[in-house]
């Protein structure tokens, strides 16, 4: 009886899984059916398309790097230390995930525009942010950094502090212990978090468009072509972005999964 129940549950799970897979893959596959290789190749020779893809990829990579540099040490601190107000800090980190991204863009604009002392200071220093790649990176970092911090924090929590204790008593400093033990055991998960961050940054549109319509990132270009010229001009660029994102995503996933199962 229990077996039958279990099997029925699996059947239901499989059915819902099939719906999910279809829901994700069909629109992507259908995108390719609406265009032709010749149109994709033509789009690849379009300077504007190529530039938007470079900017998207580059800004997303810089975003991931900044998130890594700032986020990983803080994630380690959060994973190892308990203190009053920790939940509040963790909630603040998650805020960019829950607010609409156009709202995030407006929030950032209020700080970066000359209406705010910070924006005025940047202007006085001759630093132009709005409408530059820097603005794109700022918008992308704001909305995607929480993914890396949360993944890294969970990964560090998974490494027993006792491993670090043993390492310290064997003569390693705190920093040596972090790199040789904690980070060595977490880097694959952190790489997974970096992939998420990068992917989230690539797909960002709402916050970026508020801070920098130009230079154009690929999602902005796709939006512009769709609204100005219709689907037929938007689909080839969309297809290119899907292909490039998937290739990078798959390569990084393979590296991140690696030999982990053999060791743990």
């Amino acid at each position: 009886m229990l077996n039958k129940k279990t099997e029925l549950l699996f059947v239901i799970s499989l059915f819902t899984g099939a719906i999910i897979l279809l829901f994700i893959t069909y629109p992507i596959i259908n995108t390719f059916s609406l265009t032709k290789p010749a149109l994709i190749l033509e789009a690849l020779q379009d300077r504007e398309v190529l530039q938007s893809i470079y900017i998207s990829m580059g800004a997303a990579a810089i975003t991931t790097f900044i998130s890594f540099l700032l986020g990983v040490p803080f994630a380690y601190f959060l994973a190892r230390k308990d203190f009053k107000g920790k939940s509040l800090i963790e909630s603040i980190i998650d805020v960019p995930i829950v607010i609409p991204h156009t709202v995030a863009g407006i929030c950032l604009l209020t700080v970066l525009s000359p209406r705010c002392w910070f924006g005025r200071m940047l202007t006085n220093l001759g630093i132009e942010v709005l409408g530059t790649i820097a603005a794109i990176v700022i918008a992308m970092t704001f909305v995607s950094m929480p993914f890396l911090i949360n993944t890294a924090k969970e990964s560090f929590k998974w490494v027993s502090p006792r491993l670090e204790n043993v390492s310290r008593t064997l003569g390693a400093t705190h920093a040596q212990t972090f790199f040789l033990i904690t980070f060595s055991l977490s880097w694959r998960d952190i790489l997974g978090g970096m992939i998420l961050t990068w992917a989230r940054a690539i797909s960002e549109f709402g916050a970026v468009i508020i801070l920098a319509y130009h230079p154009m990132i690929a999602p902005t270009l796709i939006y512009e072509r769709f609204t100005c010229y219709g689907m037929i001009y938007a689909v080839p660029v969309t297809a290119i972005l899907i292909i490039i994102s998937l290739i990078i995503f798959i390569i990084l996933r393979i590296i991140a999964s690696g030999r982990k199962e053999e060791i743990f």
């Binding site: 027993s160 006792r162 491993l163 204790n165 043993v166 390492s167 310290r168 008593t169 064997l170 003569g171 390693a172 400093t173 705190h174 040596q176 040789l180 033990i181 060595s184 055991l185 053999e262 060791i263 743990f264």
Partner: protein, 335 residues
């Protein structure tokens, strides 16, 4: 020598209160206490892994209270072994060598070979910890801790996660290792049998307080409190005020309780000279594997005796059988 002077610390809701301990160089000291008594916290405090609120830790005459863990020459082995899962056994063992600044490679190579041979782990050097049994993991953890010649070895319940058979082997190897290397060792455990076998001296800890320290003999045969007596397996504990009216025993009036270890209660089919010997009736048997626990009722009191299986079968005991039982005066413990 390790001296812990007036050590106090608070970790969450737990507190260690004014701990004072002295452990001699080369000694195997066992800290015995129930779960949650503060054993591991104390070990980690000695290792420098927990900050102190008060007190001092002195190792070989040097105050190490403010020294970082990596500067204390103390190694720690945890109950769950804490082997680095991403390193092979050999790399686990030699991990600490890269941080040694004396450059004496030959000495460490000799240490490596000695430990690998003593602990019989040569065949697993190229394996990852995932592919080791509990006993193998424990041996690797010991080798890793000892290869750098630490001044002090801290063992946190090293035997508690092992199967009975392997436990005995590791216990034997630990004893052998200590006899060979003479490393000052502090082991914490909740198992008094491990303490009995391994310890030179024992300390009893409860609720963050050290209740008693002393030689194995002192702790096991002359506990100073009912808790210690009960914790080290003294089964026969009677209020002197009550028992002296029933049994003709010469007892000091100052003491509150009489205790007799169960292995010191004999059972015989005839009276025994020079001992306190009484008549009683067998009421219960429990086969504990390596020994038999026999409960004897006499004048409303229940005495517990441990007998070897051989002795037990010679006596031909049955439930309800009348026997002589008793103990020699030297085994009476007044608490």
């Amino acid at each position: 020598m390790i001296e812990v002077k007036d050590l106090s610390l608070k970790a969450g809701n737990f507190r260690l209160n004014s701990i004072n301990l002295t452990i001699n160089t080369g000694e195997f000291f066992v800290l015995l206490g129930p779960t949650g008594s503060g054993k591991t916290v104390l070990l980690e405090a000695i290792a420098g892994l927990k900050p102190l609120n008060k007190g001092k830790i002195i190792i070989s005459g040097k105050d190490v209270t403010d020294k970082k863990p990596e500067k204390r020459k103390i190694a720690i082995c945890y109950q769950d072994y804490a082997l680095f899962p991403h390193m092979k056994v050999k790399d686990n063992i030699t991990y600490g060598l890269r941080f040694q600044q004396d450059g004496n490679k030959l000495k460490y190579q000799e240490n490596f070979e000695l430990l690998v041979n003593l602990l019989k782990i040569e065949h697993i050097l190229d394996r990852y910890p995932l592919f080791l049994s509990g006993g193998e993991k424990q041996r690797v953890a010991l080798a890793r801790a000892l290869i750098t010649d630490p001044d002090v070895l801290l063992l946190d319940e090293p035997l508690s996660a092992l199967d009975a058979g392997i436990k005995e082997t590791i216990e034997y190897k630990m004893k052998k290792l200590h006899q060979t290397l003479k490393t000052t060792t502090i082991m914490v455990t909740h198992n008094f049998r491990e303490a009995y076998y391994l310890a030179d001296r024992v300390g009893i800890i409860k609720g963050g307080n050290i209740l008693q320290t002393g030689s194995v003999e002192e702790i096991f045969c002359h506990p100073k409190s009912l808790f210690v007596a009960d914790f080290v397996g003294m089964k026969n504990l009677f209020k002197i005020e009550d028992i002296k009216n029933t049994f003709p025993l010469e007892l000091e009036s100052k003491a509150g309780y009489l205790g007799i270890r169960p292995e010191n209660i004999f059972i015989s089919d005839k009276p025994v000279k020079d001992a306190y010997c009484f008549k009683g009736r067998i009421i219960n048997f429990i086969n504990n594997g390596v020994y038999m626990q026999i409960d004897i009722e006499s004048q409303g009191y229940i005495f517990t005796s441990y007998l070897t299986h051989n002795h037990y079968s010679q006596l031909n005991l049955t439930e309800g059988k009348e026997v002589f039982f008793g103990f020699y005066p030297k085994y009476m413990c007044l608490i």
